[in-house]
Amino acid sequence: MAVTTATESRAYARSRAAGNRERLRLGVVYGMMILLTVVLAYPFYYLATASFKTVEELFRYPPTLIPETWTLDNFRGAFEVVPLLRMALNTFIICILVVTGSILSNSLAAFAIARLRFPFKNIIFGAMLTTLMIPGWISLVPAYLFWRDFGRFTNGLIGVNMGVNSIGPLVIPSFLTSAFAVFLMRQYFMTIPKELEEAARIDGASYFRIYWNIFLPLSFPVLAVIGIGAFMGGWNDVLGPLIYLSKPESQTIMVGLSYFNSQHMSVIYRGSRFAAAFIAAIPVLALYFVANKYLIRGIVLGGLK
């Protein structure tokens, strides 16, 4: 009787010690998670609130958490410096086309490489992968010259400049596949059971129909990753538009942001720079909050295989 009580109380003491350790672990883990969340999210919070602060409040320390007086002056100032909404619209059009191009061209090529038999398949796939290894800087100037000539060519042919000073050089390459996206999609397509397409073949479906009616609907997660990635890449790109677009009213919003670095910007434009950066951040952040599930899963998929 006495022995049992002793063992019980010892077991109780042990479980209480374990409970304390578990509580300590939880405390440390949560403490660090909260600290990191604050550090990582604060710049975004600061950006969002500072855009609505008066210049006087902007330079106050400690920074106010919520603007004392809400003002839209910064946004007005930003629109004075550059045609910001026009730039956002330009960027949006580019992004939509880039998303379309990369989803269509990459999935079509990945489907062919994963499922069809055709001559030089492995050579073509291998050649595509080599493009990942050579930095784009080597073709910087030749690419500009190519797109200049291409613009003259399309201008003579159909009367539309699709080269330098148009969105052509930013959009057309997305219709010519990217090796990384093809690779990612191929990995995904290989997991789709062969029985599905065999049944469709027996029913007389063409390969294009199999691709369009079976593979694309089944591949939503990976298409979402490629699409979101293409949108963010297009939205945040600065080198491409910097080189290929020249007039402010046809520029993208990222290059527009760099205009705020120019020497005419005085202190009163500090707030405008925030407002512009805030406008430039909203679309990608919104897309991210809606679709982060797919994006994060896709990065895991691409990062491990």
Binding site: V29, M33, F118, P142, L239, V300
Partner: protein, 289 residues
């Protein structure tokens, strides 16, 4: 048969264009062609390379500054790995934490630099914090080159958090059995980390290192916004190799020199990637698990 070729034809066109443009890039690096010359490009042999590689050339200086960001890659990986360890703990709220961690990768460099340069301005919030903990004369982050560099590295450290997604995937791929066995053998947390987690994570860490180094050598966006050429913010002492290539190609009207610089950068990247693959034999484990 032909269907397949038809489906990959955009990829084939893309590759031919890619190969052609790179070939032209090599060709250009041996000429003195300029944007305003009316004559066809003249071959100048290795002159562009000599200019690029002579001691104290702008490009080599840029390459040296870029090396700082390359050497910072292991620090970034250590940060993302530590955050992944935290995100791998079985507690509530992890999915929200992951969403926050990836945020720095979503917005472009222009947005981040706009916020960062203000947070680090002379009378900005960061210096306010430093003064409040007793540092009477905090750094002038936006005027002294060395402090600008530190602020950029702090931005990179902050921006390393999204890498935790890849590290986390690596962590979650480690079979539970290893940890169960360690528990049975009475291993403590440090032993489990150093003998199980880290060795089994080496393939993931290597993957991050290779891609990180390739990317770091091409650092452009952040520096472009921090030290924008042709503006009041322009600061030659921050320009990386790729900013110098851009400047040679477009601002200095020496496309041949730009092309030669780009090829040198490409070779540097190739050498570092090869070194990484050689060195991995010493520290990456592929055989277990």
């Amino acid at each position: 048969m032909l269907t397949g070729l038809l489906f990959v034809s955009p990829a084939v066109i893309g590759f031919i264009l890619f190969a052609y443009l790179n070939f032209r890039g090599v060709e250009l690096s041996f000429t003195n062609w300029s944007w305003i010359s009316r004559r066809p490009p003249e071959p100048v042999g290795w002159a562009n390379y000599q200019l690029v590689l002579q001691a104290d050339s702008d490009f080599l200086k840029g390459l040296g500054r870029t090396l700082i960001y390359v050497l910072f890659v292991p620090v970034s990986i250590a940060i993302s790995f530590s955050i992944a360890l935290l995100a791998n703990q079985a507690v509530r709220g992890q999915s929200l934490f992951r969403v926050v961690c990836y945020m720095p990768a979503v917005t472009g460099a222009g947005v981040l630099v706009a916020v960062w340069t203000f947070l680090f301005s002379v009378d900005g919030p960061v210096n306010g914090l430093l003064r409040s903990i007793g540092i009477a004369d905090p750094p002038r982050w936006n005027t002294v080159t060395e402090w600008k560099q530190v602020a950029i590295l702090l931005l990179l450290a902050w921006g390393a958090a999204p890498g935790m997604i890849i590290a986390l995937a690596g962590l979650q791929a480690i079979p539970k059995d290893f940890y169960d066995a360690a528990k049975v053998d009475g291993a403590n947390a440090w032993q489990t980390l150093s003998r199980i987690t880290i060795p089994l994570m080496t393939p993931t860490l290597f993957f991050q290192l290779v891609l990180g180094v390739i990317g770091a050598w091409q650092t452009f966006d952040i520096i472009y916004f921090w030290a924008t050429p042709g503006t009041q913010n322009a600061d030659v002492s921050l320009w990386t190799a790729s900013v110098q290539i851009y400047q040679y190609a477009f601002a200095y009207n020496r496309p041949g020199v730009g092309a030669a610089s780009a090829i040198v950068l490409g070779l540097v990247i190739l050498v570092f990637t090869m070194l990484n693959f050689v060195a991995q034999r010493r520290w990456v484990n592929y055989d277990i698990a």
